[in-house]
Amino acid sequence: MADTMAAEAATHSAPREEHRTSTGISNEKLAMWVFLGSECLLFGGLISTYMFNKGRIGPGDIGPADVFDIPFTSVSSFVLLMSSLTMVFAVSSIVRGDLRGNRIWLATTAALGATFVAGQVYEFTAFYSEGLGFTTNLFGSSFYALTGFHGAHVTIGIIMLMSLFVMSLRGNLGPERAEKVEIIGLYWHFVDIVWIVIFTIVYLFPQ
């Protein structure tokens, strides 16, 4: 009897990575897609608020054309785009069972994301020193709110990537958990597509 109970307990505590589903598709992945769909509304609100407010500045007040540094932001955008490439390499390497490759690509993606955030911090500092604070005018408020929210999302993504990296180092991230990497990858690509929209509408549209 005791042996049977012990065997049962061992069976229940054994590491398993079955995909919980009541619909035929993974619940976690479905939840991430629903979450990303709802995030569209958050960023849609911030982007449309920026569009509405960017021209609402007084005469002689500091505006987009006075502060934007397009070459610098273009390089930042390129860095974030390439981090999406390294993220898909992270997913494909874990699917293949290449754990070392997975760790390398996760770390590279996090490093590229950190470079992007560092660029954003530099940009904010430069804008502030040029006289554009959060409360300077409606342009400043909506610009910092939009790009700040995006930067916070990238930062959360970096934390999740580093968590995966640590899990991998501890031996808790094998091919059986490839879907976890894929789901965090979806979040990462989402912050990338949001930046694609922000870069065009905020920085490149005629001021």
């Binding site: 769909g37 597509i193 005629p206």
Partner: protein
């Protein structure tokens, strides 16, 4: 389960269905590289268009070109990097529902505030 475009060159791991909920095939790394190159070229062209606008391009033409390039980049990432081209169609519908709802709500809001 979604089907994969039967391109043997770009879908080497068609058998790598790792039960990711409507498990799907992963394209080869080379396909990802090609998509990344396309994204980089489009970004470079966007920036080029921005600077070229200083030499007298009309605002409307510039905005149309930028929006088109933005949409192509958006769908390249969504279709290939986020695997929606190969994944269960329900994910595509869920995401596009959010995108279309957001666009409708905020276009209406901007119209109400006489933005256009």
């Amino acid at each position: 389960m979604a089907t994969v475009t039967p391109d043997p060159q770009d879908t080497a791991h068609a058998s790598d269905e790792h039960a990711s909920g409507g498990g799907h095939a992963h394209p080869t790394d080379w396909l990802y590289v090609k998509v990344a190159i396309a994204l980089a070229v489009l970004t470079a062209f966007e920036v080029f268009t921005y600077f070229e606008s200083l030499h007298g391009w009309g605002d409307t033409a510039l905005i149309i070109m930028l929006v088109l390039m933005m949409l192509v980049k958006f769908f390249l990432v969504v279709a290939f990097f986020m695997h929606l081209k190969f994944d269960a169609p329900i994910f595509w519908r869920l995401f596009m529902f959010g995108v279309v709802l957001a666009m409708a709500v905020y276009m209406l809001m901007l119209t109400a505030f006489r933005f256009w």
